[in-house]
């Protein structure tokens, strides 16, 4: 008799709570978006699946002794997983487009306005009853505007781990939505004539410059903003391994095995943070609103900065490429290219947009460093 009672008590049917059920649905929606709509599938599939697993009653996969708990403690609480992803991203990134036209860095800087505007927005949202973001939480939310997954996960693991799940979901979702979010803003802020501007061909870049670039970035970080050193340092190490050409096998491993395996574990561990008590809250709604705002403001700031540069520049700059400064590599650059082609079917902007695009990665890592230094 006792056996049957124990058996019934160990079914999900008896132990399921409404919150857990809703969160399982949320997880399945993320999996659906990943598979059917190709929303950042490499991350959202493991995140969604992790959300399902963590909310299975009695399984305790996210409690001490559980496998998701172990992944979180080892890789997210310590910041190691996002840093390893950054190592792989560095090994995958070609900064040539940026080196050929260094002024693109300014577009990557301007687009970070999305982050800081959102910081203000998050604090302003405290006027809404029931919402009460600390400055640390506001900073972690704001970084969604960096449009860079590992940076967002790293910063919120350090500043506001209780919001990590919602922030990661918002960041990857809006990155997937860039083709929807950006074009209206681009058309609003530019004339068709501006969008049709053709840019000059990029100069080739020497191998030596490509090798020295990551070291240069690292040294600037050392001098100006050491708190950004973990993120920027791993990015630069990856890029140096890539460009130096003497450690091919390490570079290949960082781009493949390392980033793939860490992505699986990172995704599951992030998904495991999506519990009812932390996700089904008014704060999550606020984060979603603020995240959208961050992308909009970042895009607008990038475009306006490109228009400003165009005034002073001898060589023509198509203001569209400013929108690529938010990062969301390489989605934003593709969107720019598409809009350029709509304005003039011979206007290929993809390579020009790659400059601000990778500059945006550096820009948001720098922004993360400042937020760590001043709000951490």
């Amino acid at each position: 008799m006792e056996t049957w009672l124990t058996l019934w008590q160990s079914t999900g049917l008896s132990a399921m709570s409404l919150g857990a059920l809703l969160m399982i649905v949320v997880g399945l929606v993320l999996v659906y978006l990943a598979i059917v709509h190709k929303f950042e599938p490499l991350l959202l599939l493991p995140i969604g699946f992790g959300a399902v697993l963590t909310n299975i009653p009695l399984a305790g996969m996210n409690e001490a002794g559980g496998v998701l708990y172990a992944f979180y403690e080892v890789g997210i609480a310590t910041g190691i997983f996002p840093l390893l992803i950054f190592l792989g991203v560095g090994a995958m990134t070609d900064f040539s487009a940026l080196l050929a036209n260094p002024r693109m860095l300014l577009l990557g800087a301007a687009a970070q306005f999305g982050i800081f505007a959102t910081l203000i927005g998050a604090i302003a949202l405290n006027w809404v009853p029931g919402v009460e973001f600390t400055i640390q939480q506001a900073a972690a939310i704001a970084i969604i505007g960096g449009a860079d997954g590992p940076t967002a996960i790293y910063l919120s693991s350090q500043l506001a781990p209780e919001l990590l799940g919602a922030i990661a979901v918002a960041a990857y979702s809006y990155m997937a939505l860039v083709p929807v979010l950006q074009p209206p803003i681009m058309r609003l802020l530019t004339s068709k004539k501006e969008r049709a501007i053709k840019m000059e061909q990029l100069k080739p870049v020497s191998k030596r410059a490509k090798i020295l670039f990551p070291l240069l970035v690292l040294l600037l970080t050392v001098l100006l903003l050491p708190t950004a050193a973990p993120l920027v340092g791993m990015l630069c190490l990856g890029n140096l391994m890539r460009e130096s050409g003497v450690v091919e096998r390490l570079s290949k491993s960082a781009q493949n095995e390392l980033i793939n395996l860490v992505t699986i574990f990172l995704g599951l561990a992030v998904g495991a943070q999506l519990t009812a008590s932390s996700f089904l809250t008014i704060e999550t709604l606020g984060i979603l609103v603020l995240g959208a705002m961050a992308f909009v403001f970042g895009t607008a700031a990038g475009i306006l900065m490109a228009k400003l540069l165009n005034v002073f520049s001898k060589q023509p700059i198509n203001p569209l490429i400013g929108a690529a400064g938010v990062s969301a590599v390489p989605m934003a650059a593709r969107v720019v290219n598409k809009e350029g082609l709509r304005a003039d079917q011979h206007n290929f902007l993809l390579m020009h947009a790659m400059g601000p695009n990778v500059a945006g990665v550096l820009g948001s890592a720098v922004a993360a460093g400042i937020l760590l230094a001043l709000a951490g």
Binding site: L7, F39, A176, F348, M351
Partner: protein, 84 residues
Amino acid sequence: MADLFMQALELMLAGMGVVFLFLCVLTGAVMLLTRLCPEPMKMTAPSNPPPEDHANSQASKLAAVTVAVQKYRHARGRADQSED
């Protein structure tokens, strides 16, 4: 000892019961599933288009970019037109 034996017997009954219950329910569910998702007639209509072709994720994205940059350097003016 006899007590332990009874416990084991009970465990066996419960165990085989749950295993059959679980896999019978799954059998039914799979039958339903395969009825609802019949194999598309001829040409496997790509309701799920080529894997990762449009995958927007960090990793594949950057890899794509890398290749793109290199292509571009050799053949400017013929940049890739395929996008979303």
